[in-house]
């Protein structure tokens, strides 16, 4: 039986792992390569590297780190951040990424998903969406959750999947960093419109939050988190054992 995936996300800036709480107040954690290897050894099913670098030097540093990680870690590796063109896809795929996630780049250039899916296949293109409720409507936010694009999130996701996105990461800005659990209402709504794998992000604070997620929203394929793994609040090996005990299909 196909298993539910646990995915640690590593935000990388200037070659170091960072994590924002509500996207602000960044703090240094560890070397991305070491952390990636550690997670892979602990049973992480996949890794996401998110490049939040602004400078060209930082970007070159990021691809070096990506290459070094892909040399040592043999689980799927998804890369996001600063992906605006098909050439950006090419840049990170050559360094060993398996999937590429697009967010603001697809908002600025809506044809990006279709172009990339045609060139690299649907399985390679991940649509990542930062979503926040505004007057009771799910809206897409851009630039790391700062700008309301006005786009209606469910329609945006339906369109992205139609254009060839093979997977959707839903990051709820409303629950991100709050550690009170995933945004079940939002995820349920997304699972109704997206018939591709859905990855839940934002809000995990403890093991039970993952159990609740997979029990309550069967359409969700994976749970993604950053700080709770980085700071050791939840250990991936313990989490997966708890999932198995709770009857959730999981790779151990």
């Amino acid at each position: 039986m196909i298993t539910k995936r646990i995915i640690p996300c590593l935000d990388v800036r200037d070659g170091r792992v960072v994590k924002g709480v509500n996207f602000q107040g960044l703090g240094d954690v560890d070397s991305p390569v070491r952390l990636a290897k550690y997670y892979s050894d602990c049973g992480a099913d996949e890794l996401v590297f998110y490049d939040i670098t602004a400078s060209a030097e930082g970007r070159a540093l990021f691809t070096d780190i990506l290459t070094e990680t892909a040399r040592q870690v043999f689980i799927p590796l998804t890369v996001g951040g600063g992906i605006n063109t098909v050439a950006d896809f090419d840049r990170v795929l050559k360094c060993g990424a398996d999937k590429v996630s697009v967010n603001s780049g697809a908002i600025r250039n809506p044809s990006l998903i279709g172009q990339a899916a045609k060139k690299y296949g649907d399985q390679c293109v991940v649509l990542s969406v930062d979503v926040k409720r505004v007057d009771g409507v799910f809206r897409v936010f851009a630039r790391g959750g700062r700008d309301n694009t006005g786009l209606e999130a469910l329609e945006w996701i339906r369109r992205g999947v139609g254009d060839g996105a093979g997977e959707v990461v839903v990051n709820s800005i409303d629950t991100d960093g709050v550690k009170q659990g995933f945004d079940l209402e939002m995820l349920e709504a997304v699972c109704r419109v997206a018939k591709v794998p859905v990855i839940a992000s934002g809000g995990a604070g403890k093991t039970e939050d993952f159990l609740t997620l997979f029990h309550r929203i069967p359409g969700v394929d994976a749970g993604l988190a950053a700080s709770i793994f980085h700071f050791g609040e939840v250990r991936i090996s313990d989490l997966k054992r708890a999932m198995a005990e709770a009857g959730i299909p999981v790779r151990i």
């Binding site: 039986m1 298993t3 995936r5 043999f74 799927p76």
Partner: protein, 214 residues
């Protein structure tokens, strides 16, 4: 040395790295002479069957791969590379494969409909993620792993009618072909280079097979 056939389909960096990680020499190449001189051959691939089959033929590498197999060298196809080993595929039309193994490649959607898979499970296409192997036949390729071990799949099509070459399958509404092997020709639908230690152990077993060094 293992030749990893580069015919312009997909990213071979991880595959190359995984051979380095198990201490085996591998070379990414599009040179038929290097392929024919190698001890064993890997045929990778992602994307659409029709495009890949065309690229393989246009580069003439289809002949090199077939010749290597006929010379008795261990050959392993991975993901789309495995599908190319079969007679044909029904991915967007009908396309001929290399015909090194008996069987045809068909949409998972159709296979699920025919076998009456439970619609309640809302199985997504592609199958993307980690799934367990069920062994169907003993084979040296699987000697380093155990039944029930998990491997990483990404596919919307699956090989059917594989007959005696079926080595392992995986449960996804029905049982889908996961691993095949007959004589010196092998295939993995999943990605051993992305399946952690289980995948690396499969590659080790492949590298331990009697080479057909030229």
């Amino acid at each position: 040395m293992t030749a990893i056939v580069d015919y312009g389909v997909g990213n071979l960096f991880s595959l190359e790295s995984s051979f380095a990680a198990i201490g085996e020499q591998a070379r990414v190449t599009s040179d038929p002479e290097i392929i024919l001189a190698a001890e064993r051959v890997i045929l990778p691939g992602v994307g659409a069957f029709g495009d890949a089959a065309e690229k393989l033929r246009n580069t003439g590498l289809d002949r090199a791969v077939t010749a290597a197999a006929e010379a008795g060298k261990p050959l392993m196809g991975i993901c789309l590379g495995m599908q190319l080993l079969f007679e044909k595929s029904f991915e967007y039309g009908e396309h001929a494969g290399l015909g090194l193994l008996k069987g045809v490649v068909r949409p998972i959607r159709e296979i699920l409909e025919e076998t009456g898979a439970d619609p309640e499970r809302q199985l997504k296409i592609p199958q993307m993620g980690w799934n367990a192997l069920r062994f169907c036949r003993d084979n040296p390729l699987l000697s380093g792993i155990r039944e029930g071990d998990y491997v990483y799949f990404v596919h919307s099509y699956a090989a059917t009618g594989c007959g005696n070459s079926l080595l392992a399958d995986t449960e996804y509404g029905t049982y889908l072909t996961a691993c095949v092997g007959q004589g010196n020709v092998f295939g993995c639908q999943f990605h051993p280079e992305k399946s952690g230690n289980v995948g690396l152990n499969i590659l080790k077993s492949f590298c331990a097979m009697g080479g057909g060094a030229a």
